[in-house]
Amino acid sequence: MEFLIQQTMIYAVPLLIVALAGVFAERSGVINLALEGIMIFGAFVGVLFINTAQRYELFSKEQAQGLMLLTMAVTALSGALFSLLLSFAAVNLKANQTISGTALNLLAPALVLFLINVIANQNVLSMANGDAASWFMLKRADLGFTQTEELNFFERTFLIRNYLTTYICIAIFIILSVILYKTKFGLRLRACGENPHAADSLGINVYKMRYAGTTISGALAGIGGFVFALTTANASSTGDVAGFGFLALAVMIFGNWNPLSIAGASILFGLFKCIAAAYATIDINGDGVFALAELGISTNFYRMLPYLITLLVLAFTSKNSRAPKAEGIPYDKSTR
């Protein structure tokens, strides 16, 4: 059971953060299809940073948690910078946002694979020494437990063998959701996505707000990409995140652009991904019965399920969809 919960959290947390990234961009009025590309770029920058820090011995293994936090900040910055390409095209040049997003999705893997090949002469960039689990996972010694102490369920599931990034990301999610819904800045941001002309008439600079929304979106997607590479790919960058960015888009749509529903949706989709990856070995209540394996449903069905149910939800609730009304439409003051 701890395994199920831990694996679900590992898949759910990057989905959560990247779906929130999509929400920030779309709530400000810019369709951000480039989530996948920004994730790829963030993963690459994060792994490169760790690799360089290890090669030049700037951080020892005891300072690994500090290295991880610093890397998160660096990847946030890199994601924000990469998303500037999208915001420049969407806001200043009033370009077609879906095509610009697709262009960034094509640019990121090409750029990342090119740089990886130049740096490492192969198609994968990993850590210079050790692996992600031994360096960055929370171990008994970090938390003050001895090697043979008995741990209760809570400690076994949520404290040991987890990454600190999981909890930091959850905290970022809560803080940013509060900012989006309870502060003046968040209200103005949302206004720019629903009715930018009305917002403009009140003196809000719609261009700046859209830049802010897309930049925050890029930063979050960068963090999401790095967390994904760290926790699921053993801190290696391959120029690919296996469609996670698009799955986060599905989470955002399924969650109706609303943080609480997005949290629920990401846990659900994380559960599906976890089952798809490990269903033969999941023992739900520890009685030795692998119930899911005996159901006989193919793992491909579990992998397909998130996209299928998003399509079904789209089909049945399109009238209640709370998509920001002015998303995707470039804002032009002269059309007021």
Partner: protein, 421 residues
Amino acid sequence: MNKNLPSIENGRKLLQKDSFKTALSSLISILIGIIVGCIIVVIVAVASDEITFKGGIEGVKLILFGLLCKGRDAAGELVFGFNPVNIGNMLFRATPVIMTGLSVAVAFKTGLFNIGTPGQYLIGTAATLIIALSIPSDAVASWIIWILAFLGGMAAGALWGMIPGIFRAYLHINEVLACIMTNWIAANLVTWIFENSPFRNGAESGKVGYIMKTTANSVETPKFGLDRLFSGSQINAGIIAACLAAVIIYVIISKTTLGYELKACGSNRNAAEYAGIKGKRKIVLSMAIAGSLSGGAAALYYLSGNTEFFWSTYQSLPSEGFNGIPIALLAGNNPIAVIFSGCFMSALNIAGQQLKNFTAYNEFVTDIIIAVIVYLSAFSLVIKMLLSKRSKREILRGNRTTAPVNLAKSEIEPEERQADE
């Protein structure tokens, strides 16, 4: 009156034509993309220890002329000339992307962004391979199997393409979202279909991850003598089929009532409905045509007999699908121009392979160039506006000395018109 117009007027009229502006903006995008690629190559050459500046210049030469590269001579210098293997391979690889480019272009004409080409391509692959490998070739003649497999691939792609079309037409859901979902559903579905399939290549060692080539059932695209023209390459008659498809699509779009109705739905759906065109059915039909073209792309690629399909596709989507988007954008959605932009993209890919084979660079530089070109195409409208602003200024300046130009006419020149002549 027209006969007496000075030739400067004719030049200005050319500059104002929408299709000319589209072509010019595409050329500018290509130019800037290639320049960015060359800059990256030179920067890497300067920054890296192993690659000298001379290596950087070689990289730039290969990006520009890679199609003509024949390798290195005894002195280690790059030799350029007519290379039939490269050109043949370029045409071979251009075949599927011309078809996916057509797919995206047809959808754009109707005002839809068909980003679901990878999913339709995958479903087409599955249908084609299953039909081509399951009908025993001793019972049925192999050319009949080829035609059945080709039509099956197109039909499967059409069905898959209709799904986002139905979502858009009847449920008012953005087709981009529906396409992205169907892409990944297709990726998992195809892996599921082939997971325990008898068509996996169990005969050759280590190849269980691939489906058998269609030559295993004696089905392959005929060469029609092209392999003697470009000997040593993988070319086959598929390129002729792709060009034929482009011509057929051009005829449908420009010369038939159906094409007119599709374009009308794309330009102004409300006006089209007012004129009696059933917009919803046209959207579904347009996506079905687009899907069938992507399925046909897959069919042409895998029926060639020398390609193997890696069936575990649930992690990544085929690049031929997404590469159709820049091809359609560069061609301004004109089906005949798609042939040329498809060949251009394919030539860029060959240049990337040459970079990998003959220099210390890798093939991803050309992918970067293609991505930059797509990025620039996103604001091709802005480039077109810049171009038309300049010609308006020249008209105003020239107005003082030559005969008065009809300013009113140039102002109502509709720049937002999407239907190309």
